[in-house]
C-alpha cells in the first residue's frame, strides 16, 4: 500500500517550532514535581529534591495495589486463619501450602476449633492475583503493599506461618471499618459466638 504523505508547510519544514514545543513539555514536567503524589513527602519542606533514595525510600503504591499476600491477626492478636484450605485450592500457581492441624492441633483463641499447623507461601511462585484474598471466608489473608520480595536463596522465599503473621500484622483495615460503624472493640466474631454458647451452656 502506498501511504500518502502529508504536505508540510514552510514553518513545519523548519523544525524549530517542534523543537521548542519539546522543550516546553520538558520544562512543564520539570516544574510539576511538586504536584506529584510520589514526592508528597519531599515537597513538605519545599526542598527541591527529585531523586528518590530507593530502596531506603519506597514508592507509595496506589489503593488497591496487589502486593505480597500475608496473614493478618484480629485485634486481639489471635490468628484468623482456620485452615479451610480454600486459598490453597484456588491458588493458580500452587504457591500456598497448608498443613491442617489434625485432631490435636493447637489454637490461640478461646472457642476456636481449628488453626493451620503450618502455612507456607512460596513467594517465588506467587503471581499476586489476589484469589486467596477473594476466596478467604475468614478475611485472614490480604494482599498488602509489599512489592520488594528479596532473598538470598529459594528456601528463604518460602514464607512460613510465623513470618506471614508478623508481616501481616493486625487487621487494621477491618478494625477501622468497624470503629467507624460504632463498634469500637473491633471484629470479635468468635468472641460473640463463644459468649452466646457459654450463656446457653445449661440448656436442659
Amino acid at each position: 500500500m502506498k501511504v500518502k504523505r502529508a504536505k508540510l508547510s514552510w514553518l513545519e519544514r523548519l523544525y524549530i517550532p517542534s523543537i521548542l514545543n519539546g522543550f516546553k513539555v520538558t520544562m512543564r514536567h520539570f516544574f510539576s514535581w511538586k504536584r506529584s503524589e510520589v514526592y508528597a513527602d519531599k515537597q513538605s519542606n519545599f526542598a527541591a529534591k527529585t531523586t528518590m533514595q530507593y530502596p531506603e525510600e519506597k514508592w507509595p503504591v496506589p489503593t488497591g495495589y496487589r502486593g505480597a499476600p500475608y496473614l493478618v491477626k484480629d485485634v486481639d492478636n489471635s490468628t484468623k486463619c482456620v485452615s479451610c484450605q480454600l486459598c490453597e485450592f484456588v491458588c493458580p500457581p500452587k504457591a500456598i501450602r497448608i498443613t491442617p492441624p489434625g485432631r490435636d492441633g493447637d489454637v490461640d483463641r478461646e472457642g476456636a476449633e481449628k488453626m493451620p499447623e503450618a502455612f507456607d507461601i512460596n513467594m517465588l511462585r506467587c503471581i499476586y492475583c489476589g484469589f486467596c484474598q477473594e476466596v478467604c471466608p475468614e478475611e485472614a489473608i490480604f494482599l498488602l503493599k509489599d512489592y520488594v520480595i528479596t532473598g538470598e536463596n529459594r528456601e528463604e522465599l518460602i514464607y512460613d506461618k510465623e513470618k506471614l503473621l508478623s508481616l501481616g500484622g493486625l487487621d487494621q483495615r477491618a478494625y477501622n471499618h468497624h470503629v467507624q460503624e460504632g463498634v469500637d472493640e473491633g471484629i470479635k466474631k468468635w468472641e460473640k459466638k463463644t459468649q452466646d454458647a457459654k450463656n446457653q451452656a445449661e440448656f436442659h
Partner: protein, 565 residues
C-alpha cells in the same frame, strides 16, 4: 435364551412426573430387600429426577422426619356413588392437586420417601410450589446450624451445603438467637459429635439400631435443644461406628481418624478393595499427593452394601509407614531391577527340579499367585501359604483374615487346608532337599521355618514391611501394597473383584506381578501379555473356575463377578 434369564413380568404403575408419563415397578425392595410399594422418591429416582432428602437412605428404615423430600402431588379423584372416577371433559381421569383442607389456596406437600405411588397420580417434582416448600424446609434446618463450613470436615461432601446452594436463600429471616449446642463431644473412641451441625435426621440412630443391632444412640432434650447422645456414661463403641460418619448428611458426626486431616476436595478417589479380611469389602481410597488419608465404603450390594467395619477402615496406616522396604538387596548389594531379576532367573533356571519351595501369601493378588504357581509347576516346587484366623461377627467380618485365600486355593498355591504343607517344607529344608526358598509377603520364621533353616537355603523374599525373614533374605525384592498396584482378589464367597492403583510405590518397590512376570518369562518362557489386563485374561483362560465363569478384566467391572467354588 436360558430359562433363568427370562424374568417374570413386573407389575408396573403409570404416574406422571413433571407432566411426563412414566411407568415404574409397583414394588421396590425396601432397606431389608423385601418388596414394598414404590414411593414417590424412588419413582422419581428411577426416572432420573433427584428429590432432595436427608433422612431417607435406601438401606435404612424410612423415618420421614427431615421433610426435605416434600413434593407437591395431585391425586386421581375417588370414585363417586356411581362407582365412576371423576373425569375431565376430554374423558381423561381428573386429578386433584393436594391442598390444605382448611385453606384450599395453599398447596400441601407429601414426603416423597414415605408416600406410596397411586396409579394415575401426578408428581410435580420441580413446580414452584415444590420449590417453595424446599426453600422453607432449608431455612428451618439452617436456623440453628452454625454455618462453620470453613472448619467443618464435611464441607465439600455435605448435603446441607449442596441443598443450601440449590434450594436455600442468601439470608435467613430468623432474627432470634441461635441455639448453641455442645461441640466436639466424644461419642465413642472413633467418633466426635458436633451437635450444633446436626439436623436430627436420625440416620445414625437407625443405622446402629437396625443394621448393627447396637441400640447405642438416641435423641435427648426437647424442641430446638434436641441432641444426639449416647446413654450417660456409655460409649458408642461397636465395630461399625464410622459408617455413621459416612451416612451423616451434615458434618455432625466426624471421624476422629480423619478429623481436620485434609479437605475432601483435595482427595483423589480410587476404587479399591479392603484387605482386612476375606470379605473383600469394596472401598474408595482417598489420597492426595501420594499420601493416603482414608478408606470409605463403596456400594456393592453383592458384597458389603454401603458399609464396612471400623477395623478394616482404619487398617491403612501401614501403607505409608516410614520403614517400608524400598531398596533391593542381593549378594552383590543394591543392584537395579534388571540385574537382580537376571541373577534370580539364572539361579532358578539352573536349579535341580524339586529343590525349590515357595511360600506365597494369601494376601497377594490372583495374578501374582497364578504366576507363582506357574513357576512352581515348572520347577516342581512345593507351595503353600499361611493361614490367618480371627473372630467372625454377625455382619461383615469373616473368620478368614487373609484377603485372598480363595484365590490362593483356586490358583493352586494352597489346598483347602492352608498351611498344611509348611511343616513338610521345613522338613525338606532340614533334610537338604530344598535348597532355594521363595517367600512372598510372609514372615515364615513365625510358622516353623526358623532362621537356622533359612540360613541353609538361597532365600528369595519379596515383602512390603521388614520382618525376620526379610532380614535373612539373600535377594530382597521390595513389593507394593494393594493401593500401589492393580490386580484382583477373590473373596471367601468366590467373588473376583479388581482394585485400582492410588499411590506410587516408595523407592525401588515394584508391583509383584511385574517382577514375577519377568521372572516367570525368563524361567518358563511364559509370554503373550504386557499389562495386568492381559495377564488377567491369560489367567482366566488357565484357571479352571475362572474359565468356567468366563471372566475377563473388562467384564469384572467395578463390582466384580462370581465364580463357582
Amino acid at each position: 435364551m436360558a430359562a433363568k434369564d427370562i424374568k417374570p413380568a413386573v407389575e408396573t404403575v403409570t404416574v406422571k412426573v413433571d407432566g411426563r408419563p412414566v411407568e415404574v415397578p409397583r414394588m421396590t425392595p425396601n432397606w431389608e430387600g423385601k418388596p414394598e410399594p414404590t414411593t414417590v422418591l424412588q419413582a422419581c429416582k428411577q426416572v432420573g429426577i433427584e428429590i432432595p432428602h436427608y433422612c431417607y437412605h435406601p438401606k435404612l428404615p424410612v423415618s420421614g422426619n427431615c421433610r426435605m423430600c416434600l413434593v407437591h402431588v395431585a391425586m386421581p379423584g375417588r370414585p363417586g356413588p356411581d362407582g365412576k372416577a371423576p373425569m375431565n371433559d376430554d374423558g381423561s381421569p381428573k386429578v386433584f392437586p393436594m391442598q390444605l383442607p382448611y385453606e384450599p389456596q395453599t398447596p400441601r406437600g407429601v414426603i416423597g420417601c414415605a408416600t406410596p405411588l397411586v396409579p394415575g397420580m401426578e408428581i410435580y417434582a420441580s413446580s414452584p410450589e415444590t420449590k417453595e416448600m424446599r426453600e422453607a424446609i432449608m431455612e428451618s434446618l439452617l436456623i440453628n446450624h452454625p454455618l462453620d463450613c470453613s472448619i467443618c470436615d464435611q464441607a465439600g461432601e455435605c448435603k446441607l451445603q449442596e441443598y443450601s446452594y440449590d434450594h436455600g436463600q442468601a439470608k435467613s429471616e430468623f432474627e432470634e438467637f441461635k441455639v448453641h449446642k455442645p461441640k466436639a463431644v466424644n461419642l465413642g473412641p472413633r467418633i466426635t459429635l458436633d451437635a450444633e451441625r446436626c439436623i436430627l435426621c436420625t440416620r445414625c440412630i437407625r443405622f446402629t439400631k437396625d443394621i448393627v443391632g447396637d441400640d447405642a444412640l438416641g435423641i435427648v432434650n426437647r424442641g430446638s435443644y434436641n441432641t444426639i447422645s449416647t446413654y450417660p456414661g456409655e460409649s458408642f463403641n461397636n465395630n461399625y461406628t464410622l459408617n455413621t460418619v459416612d451416612i451423616c448428611p451434615v458434618g455432625a458426626l466426624t471421624s476422629n481418624d480423619f478429623r481436620f486431616q485434609m479437605r475432601v476436595w483435595f482427595l483423589k478417589e480410587t476404587k479399591s478393595i479392603c484387605t482386612d479380611c476375606g470379605s473383600g469389602c469394596n472401598v474408595l481410597i482417598g489420597s492426595r499427593e501420594n499420601k493416603m488419608y482414608r478408606y470409605e465404603p463403596r456400594q456393592n450390594d453383592a458384597v458389603n452394601g454401603h458399609w464396612m467395619c471400623d477395623s478394616g477402615r482404619l487398617n491403612y496406616k501401614w501403607i505409608g509407614r516410614e520403614d517400608r522396604l524400598n531398596t533391593i538387596k542381593s549378594p552383590k548389594g543394591a543392584i537395579p531391577w534388571p540385574m537382580v531379576l537376571k541373577e534370580i532367573s539364572e539361579h532358578l533356571g539352573s536349579v535341580e527340579r524339586g529343590s525349590v519351595a515357595i511360600v506365597a501369601s494369601a494376601r497377594q493378588t490372583n495374578e501374582e499367585l497364578y504366576l507363582l504357581n506357574h513357576l512352581a509347576k515348572h520347577l516342581g516346587a512345593t507351595t503353600d501359604s499361611v493361614p490367618r484366623r480371627g473372630k467372625a461377627d454377625h455382619l461383615m467380618i469373616v473368620e478368614d483374615r487373609n484377603t485372598n485365600t480363595t484365590g490362593a486355593q483356586l490358583t493352586g498355591i494352597t489346598t483347602k487346608r492352608v498351611g498344611s504343607k509348611l511343616s513338610s517344607i521345613a522338613k525338606s529344608i532340614r533334610d537338604g532337599k530344598v535348597k532355594t526358598l521363595i517367600v512372598f509377603g510372609e514372615d515364615v520364621t513365625k510358622y516353623g521355618i526358623d532362621s537356622n533353616l533359612l540360613n541353609n537355603v538361597t532365600l528369595i523374599v519379596s515383602d512390603i514391611l521388614p520382618n525376620e525373614t526379610t532380614k535373612l533374605a539373600d535377594y530382597l525384592l521390595p513389593g507394593c501394597a494393594h493401593a500401589e498396584k492393580r490386580g484382583t482378589f477373590t473373596n471367601v464367597k468366590g467373588r473376583v473383584q479388581k482394585f485400582m492403583k492410588a499411590l506410587e510405590p516408595p523407592g525401588d518397590a515394584l508391583p509383584e506381578w511385574e517382577v514375577l512376570h519377568e521372572l516367570v518369562h525368563n524361567v518358563t518362557g511364559l509370554d503373550g501379555f504386557k499389562s495386568i489386563e492381559g495377564l488377567f485374561n491369560h489367567m482366566a483362560g488357565e484357571v479352571k473356575s475362572f474359565k468356567e465363569a468366563e471372566l475377563t478384566w473388562a467384564g469384572l467391572g467395578d463390582l466384580g463377578a462370581d465364580v463357582k467354588l
